[in-house]
Subunit: 203 residues, 2 copies
Amino acid sequence: MIIDISREISEDMAVYKNDEKFRPNLSKVKSLKENGSNMTKMVLYSHTGTHIDAPFHFFESGKRIDELPLDKFYGKCKVFDLTNLDEKITSGDLEQLDIQDGDIILFKTKNSFSENFNFNFVYLDKSAAEYLVSKKVKMVGIDELGVEREQPGHETHKLLLGAEIPIIEGLNLRDVPPGSYTIYCFPLKIRADASPARAVLIK
Amino acid sequence: MIIDISREISEDMAVYKNDEKFRPNLSKVKSLKENGSNMTKMVLYSHTGTHIDAPFHFFESGKRIDELPLDKFYGKCKVFDLTNLDEKITSGDLEQLDIQDGDIILFKTKNSFSENFNFNFVYLDKSAAEYLVSKKVKMVGIDELGVEREQPGHETHKLLLGAEIPIIEGLNLRDVPPGSYTIYCFPLKIRADASPARAVLIK
């Protein structure tokens, strides 16, 4: 069984903070009638839709997304149901969960049930990021276009990316039962701070 | 063991027929110093670098890349060494190979040893496409930015895509030993005729 946990990239998709500057643009550069085949020009941002942040997003000397080893992006994955939380995920919420060295951890929250960008999205508090770093997880994912808000120092990003733990933002976990899976979520091979990615779970 | 068989997407990469119109553009829209984080704007084409063609590329009523079932894009994969061929792959070259229903077939040719776009690239002749359709393979991949040339009716594309067999173009198979692998090569979830993809082999 394979489950798609990616958002559709389209011109009417939700964009971060509803900032129109970051809306993708898809246009036809060739058409079947005029050119014999269809071809599309895509103006995207490294943080469009379901995407993975690399250390370079917050560290000038950090690795770009194409510099991280590929084995970061697949493996044993646990989807935890935290839909009971209204504001943020703290270390206290994680201590009761089975989180092990090398796990890829996805948080299913209330965010998955909103089609639009939610300015008050459930986020990963810095205490939770510290906890995940201490557990040596391999990758962390969340179901909103950001992993944190209300933390002016961006501590959650900096703690995770500083430990070379990539962050998947913009997942769609609405229809995913919590549990264990194998995840495959490879970024494009592109020299950038982040990359859109197709994220799938296989059980 | 995981092997990356994708090309790097960059501004100095090879583009189809060296047509500058299709060169990707990567620009910084946010910088760490001025905005607190790095962010990249990416102008790509649906056929940039390693990418997958969907039926809509050649059929107006054909499926877009986001409409194909995800199980098309991963599974048992055979890499065949056809580096002995100079011009094209014909059905005669395939009849001696172990090609089964549901296989994902990748052709390693002389193309993998050229950094630049080669106008005389080794291509998949329509007779080979017919043979692959008859064998009910799941997906076909080749190591140049096109799968065919010298066939004005684009029969190879039309035979494969007409049978809903996606085509991976722009693979890098230079350092890949022929043999059996599991491939994961998921396109972005985007309503288009094709999509860049990260292609990896796992053994």
